[in-house]
Amino acid sequence: MEKHDVPDAGTGRGSGGSGRVSGPRDPWHDALASGWAELEGAGAAAAGVMPPGFARKPGTGPADIYLEVQRSAAFQEVRRRYRRFVIPGAAAFFTWYVAYVVTATAAPGLMAHPVAGAVNVAMLAGLGQFLTTFLLTWAYARHARLRRDRAALDLRWTVLEQKRERDRGRSRDGAPERAAGRDAPSGSRSREPEVER
């Protein structure tokens, strides 16, 4: 159980990667950053096999994989969906909570107003906070599951495949292997329209 299953060999630093933390360098892939020059060719070769939406300039290096993915339409769609849910949602519950606390401390008279039997406005507002928390949790989990998870997983594969591609290009420039590496991402990407609905 000591091992962790990280599919991404490109960034998987051993368990004790922290041994390198003391430098100002990138903690994630300092090992990869060493190969600028020799990778020039691989980047250019990969340009032809990029999925649509990835405008890869010839001559770019390995550190740019994330920049490319970030600029891709697929990633921007995932980010847009996440932010469109999370920002209004967070603003809403935070406002509702602050309003509740401020009303409880500043206007206890209003909160003491009876509603039914011994139940007053304050009790309803407090239980309402519990209820909205549960509802928002459910809504967030549902939104993430239906609208984000698959697209995010596809992007994860895209990054992984590009890294593999590049690593192969570095070790040996075998054309068949590169072709084989192409299958997985294109297969997984083809599911994307389902998610787009």
């Binding site: 000591e2 991404d8 041994g19 933390v21 994630w28 967070a90 909570y97 928390t133 992007l155």
Partner: protein, 530 residues
Amino acid sequence: MTGDHQTLALLLFGAFVAVTLAITTWVSRGRRGSAEEFYAGGRLFTPMENGFAIAGDYMSAASFLGISGLIALFGYDGMLYSVGFLVAWLVVLFLVAELVRNCGRFTLADVVAARMRERPVRIAAGTSSVTVSVLYLVAQMVGAGSLVALLLGGTSGAAQAWTVVGVGALMVIYVSFGGMRATTWIQIVKAVLLMGGALALTVLVLMRFHGDFDQLLRSAADRSGQGERFLAPGLKYGGDWTARLDFISLGLALVLGTAGLPHILSRFFTVPTARAARRSVVWSIGLIGSFYLMTIVLGLGAAAIVGSDTVRGSNAAGNTAVPLLALDLGGGADSTGGTVLFAIVAAVAFAAILAVVAGVTLASSASVAHDLYASLRRRDRTPRGEVAVARTAAAGIGVVAIGLGLLARDLNVAFLVGLAFAVAASANLPALLYALFWRNFTTRGAVWSVYGGLLPALVLVVLSPVVSGEPGSLFPGVDFQYFPLENPGLVSIPLGFLAGWFGTVTSREPADEAKHAETEVRSLTGAGAA
């Protein structure tokens, strides 16, 4: 409380300690301590297990006894606490859990420092994480001391002191021998015990009132001696405007602090994926929410069945409300049922403290070894070396916490917890949110936001009535009180955000675009996650 309760309670304490030590031995058998194993338990827990562990990490004895006690004494104002503690989880779920799981390895500093020049950011984030953890730890130790003394009737200082030492020793053993795996299982066991105990008492209270919540409210209001005012806000925090502002400050700290607590963040690294992290938070929100709903019933039940005056007579802070309620629900002080229920409540509260302190100790030892030691020492270390440092750090933190816990024995526990939340919200949360969401955030911004939240929070506390100028202060003899609020959050949280913004706009070096892209892509897709 007669000898029977105490004997049975002590037996149950002993059983729990034996079980937890057995767990520690069991999980540590034959394992070579890799960092992955020690800090993250191998990252192979299921969402349900992690959800229970998060709940066990979060629901302290202060919640179980303290909040129900506040409700029993002050009615509605006690409930305000539980709402803040729960709503805070939405911040965690929406903005933090998944992204932190995707970007980080073991600590908060991993996430913030990834985009920055690592050394200064790691030192800053490590320092504030250790500060938060130690404050939280001292609060729990002080709570443990007074709780055990209270429940076992030993009011002597020696009983309290030995409890603090014992709890400290146990938590060091759990953490340094068992690491995250033992800590997690202890938290799971504790969460199950706590939920079970609370559920049993809640059902008994509701049966007493034939399931009629309205009648429970009426009886509680009647027997509190306050009438209708008991069910409305204002009994505790309704004084002058300073008291009210103080409460708003506390409310802000509670809701924003949870997402910056190192021991909560470290729990997300124990599951394999961000999706699993999300599902564990959903589990924990379900558990924590239902637990706080039950504490409301227990608090009201204690007011209605035991009576607020009896509760106040037993302990001025209300901490004995639930044990007294258990005694009554079981059939009275001399009955077997009462004895058993009382002992169970005492043992559950003790278990709650042990599980929380183990989690906090582990998180702070991770901050010391993974962030501070790794940044301050430039030697080449193997992973083995880092874990050894972490184990030693756990022992060191244990000693510090025992020492401070003995010194701070008379400080109010709720205040200490509120302070830990305020520091977490002022120093950790701004840096974390900026690093995850702000494209232009720079190294200087990160360092300034951490220190710009941490220092004001600590300075304001030193200048507050808690430390000087009032009869109840730490130093009642002198008066350097310049800040009227006990909780600094209202001022220090905005200062933390402001300092991060100001540091960023004044930096000479621009933000690294490629690293920002990497953080953003990784945080939302899980690419390259540890």
